[in-house]
Symmetry: C2
């Protein structure tokens, strides 16, 4: 349904652009949310994007559109933007989003923009640009409401009306001492339900979850999700309140981290580059395939080593795909479960032995099932018990070992602080290819005496 709606929007806009029907276009643009416009922009040429962008009257709508564009679209569009109107949009955006956009621009252009912005705004943005992209400091907003602990509820409401009109999502009021250190938090809701003269310190919650500016964004997101809060305060090294991370950013973090993990496990980089050039995509995918290529070459060397046996009993080669395939697939199952289990907190590194031994047991049971099946196929085809038994045993061994490696490797990687998602794919897959082939030929040469 959503897709239909966006397809209709795209078609209408393209038709109106062809006809140069500016009045109609302006009407459609006016009614469309910035987030929907950003999706539309993916399918427009850069000159078309400029026409549509210039028809937007609302500065906030422009800001939402810009901050939701894909990196490439944003860079393409921003090149042709008039500096003054660009600055105007940046000043109206939440400071974290503005810093995000400016951080993507070439240094020269970024400097010009920062110079043109009002001092107050550009200071905030420059401060944010100093933090790592994926730390709490890099994703926090510096517009928040901080009040002294002896402020009354009534005074707090007045300050909301007068001073804090630009705060993005004002659901919490943070209470600070004279040095700006975080003491507690009140909700906007509490503010309207207590008697107006009550000072904040009498009803604030002092047990506040907070993070520091260098906390990893994934950790921040987990805290917000775990305790069902709408924003988490960020303090600097002196415990001074520096900003807040809001729940809308947390959603983006989770989606981004899930995408990263999925892509890394498949060996296609960390970020979604498919909207970019063929050359860039190719370059990103090359290394992982190289790992798999090395695995294949080692398997080649192993089989080559057993060539004498193969010449005698050539049909043995026919079992290579099924043994490699079954091993590879159960290995992927085990490593996927462990990597996702670690990412979502279902598994803890301290449970390494219970997890690995369980995976091994599952691999063994499934190996028995499929070993029997493949053995039966072999017996049916060649009517030689030794061949059937060798094939079955090879499937069983390969699947058990693959489940073991698939679960053990990511756990060990986490212990030595290597990201399991990025390392597991190539490492596990190539090792299993090599081990499967080796196990198979060792078994057949022993059992068949060739």
């Amino acid at each position: 349904m959503k897709n239909d709606r966006s397809t209709i929007l795209l078609k209408s806009v393209k038709r109106l652009l062809r006809r140069d029907a500016i009045v109609h276009l302006r009407k459609i643009v006016y009614k469309t949310h910035g987030a929907d416009l950003s999706e539309l922009f993916r399918s427009l040429s850069i000159p078309q994007q400029h026409i549509v962008f210039n028809l937007i009257e609302d500065i906030e709508q422009k800001g939402i559109l810009l901050s939701q564009l894909d990196e490439n679209d944003f860079l393409g569009l921003s090149e042709g933007l008039e500096i003054d109107s660009f600055v105007e949009v940046l000043e109206c955006m939440p400071s974290d989003d503005a810093a995000d956009l400016i951080g993507r621009l070439p240094d020269g252009q970024a400097e010009i923009l920062l110079e043109k912005m009002k001092n107050e705004e550009s200071d905030e943005v420059e401060e944010l640009l100093n933090y790592e992209d994926d730390s709490a400091g890099g994703i926090m907003v510096t517009d928040f409401i901080a009040l002294k602990d002896d402020t009354t509820a009534k005074e707090a409401i007045i300050s909301l009306q007068k001073e804090h009109m630009d705060v993005e999502m004002p659901f919490y009021l943070y209470v600070v001492d004279e040095y700006g250190n975080l003491m507690g938090v009140c909700s906007l809701r509490q503010l309207v339900v207590v008697p107006p003269e009550t000072p904040l310190k009498e009803f604030m919650t002092t047990d506040v979850f907070s993070v520091t500016t260098d906390t990893d964004q994934e950790e921040v997101a987990k805290i917000v999700a775990r305790y069902d809060i709408l924003a988490v305060p960020v303090v600097d090294e002196t415990n001074k309140l520096a900003g807040i991370v809001t729940v809308d950013d947390v959603i983006d973090i989770f989606r981004q981290e899930a995408t990263e993990d999925i892509l890394k496990m498949a060996g296609v980089g960390e970020e979604f580059v498919e909207t970019q050039s063929v050359i860039k995509s190719t370059r990103i995918r090359l290394p992982w395939l190289f790992a798999s290529c090395i695995g294949g070459v080692v398997a080649f060397i192993i089989i080559d080593y057993f060539e004498a046996s193969l010449t005698k009993v050539a049909y043995l080669a026919a079992f290579i795909p099924v043994i490699m395939g079954m091993g590879g697939n159960i290995g992927t199952q085990s490593s996927t479960i462990v990597v996702r289990g670690l990412a979502t907190g279902r598994f803890n590194v301290r449970d390494i032995w219970s997890v690995v031994s369980k995976e091994f047991l599952i691999g063994f049971i499934l190996g028995l099932v499929y070993g029997t099946l493949i053995g039966t196929v072999a017996q049916f085809r060649y009517n030689t018990a030794a061949v059937a038994f060798s094939a079955g045993l090879a499937v069983l061994s390969s699947m058990s070992v693959a489940a073991l490696i698939g679960s053990l490797v990511p756990m060990l990687f986490v212990r030595i602080n290597i990201d399991p998602a990025v390392a597991t794919g190539p490492f596990v897959t190539s090792s299993i290819d090599i081990i499967s082939v080796f196990i198979y030929f060792s078994i057949v040469t022993k059992l068949l005496g060739i």
Copy 2:
């Protein structure tokens, strides 16, 4: 860091349980958030869980703990709970969470609980139980603030203080007409900044994003994320406001959907079952491996068919792993990109040909690179141009076709309304195994004339 903290908590609680140090335990439990207790419970036996649960004094803390437990832990714990205290906890929980828990229980137990609950609460829960689990109706809360359009800001604040104390996250006030139909929305923030006598209709936003009770939860989550809102209203078939879905549930939906997609692509079911029994895990993983087994058996039949050629040139078997491996891996890359691209809205089914042709091109380029590499290895080993060329060409063909299939299949599945994540894994992997082997042997028999 978080892991350290939870490990320390677990160790202390276990030590105190061993020593029967109830007073100390009660203190620790009192200071620990329900969400942290639920994690702790994963590592406690059921009798230990009961001891700790009974030490909790705060009913809300009990509710948070219960709603965050894994399904199995919850069922184990709930069996031994005293009915009256269980009912008390359920009554204090948000109605969507209560419905979730009751929905997991055996019918008999659920009925007893619903009967014992206050009518008002049990009606809400029973109503929610009628909706599909993964629809907006199944995840919405029915506690929300709905006021008539001529209510003044001041009256609205008074109603917040008196009537709506139990509303979970009161950031929006919904404005309805006399039939309960949704007309607009105000934020709590607006309420405190407008003059007290202003009626809601004068400052409410009338352009409200809403969903219907049968909207899929993933769609709901996307709307909340797209428009950066904290809650989305849910209307029934008569446009009457029935509930709201809040942002905390949206986070859970995204995490759950990402986990589902990851697990489905690896062929390990939809839900995280590894905390369950070995038998259950084995049963879930069996079918996907069966698809791969069928693929392996077909590859077996193909190689078997070419046995005569293999007997003459046995070393040809040595290239099977690398050709299968390279094809399989690039196929996984392509299908992962497409499945995730579709899930996150980066790709649209209407772009099918541009996506697929780009993937094919990337497959072709990477195939040239690795085909040349493997051809060189073959030339180096056997010093026969025809063999080297055959191996290289097989790698090139297999990788190009694999990229094509890997991107085309999920796109086609979406078109015919099959979940691409669940179908892509087994289907793509097995097809590529079969096709790679077939391409290879067709090439070598033709080119080497055997």
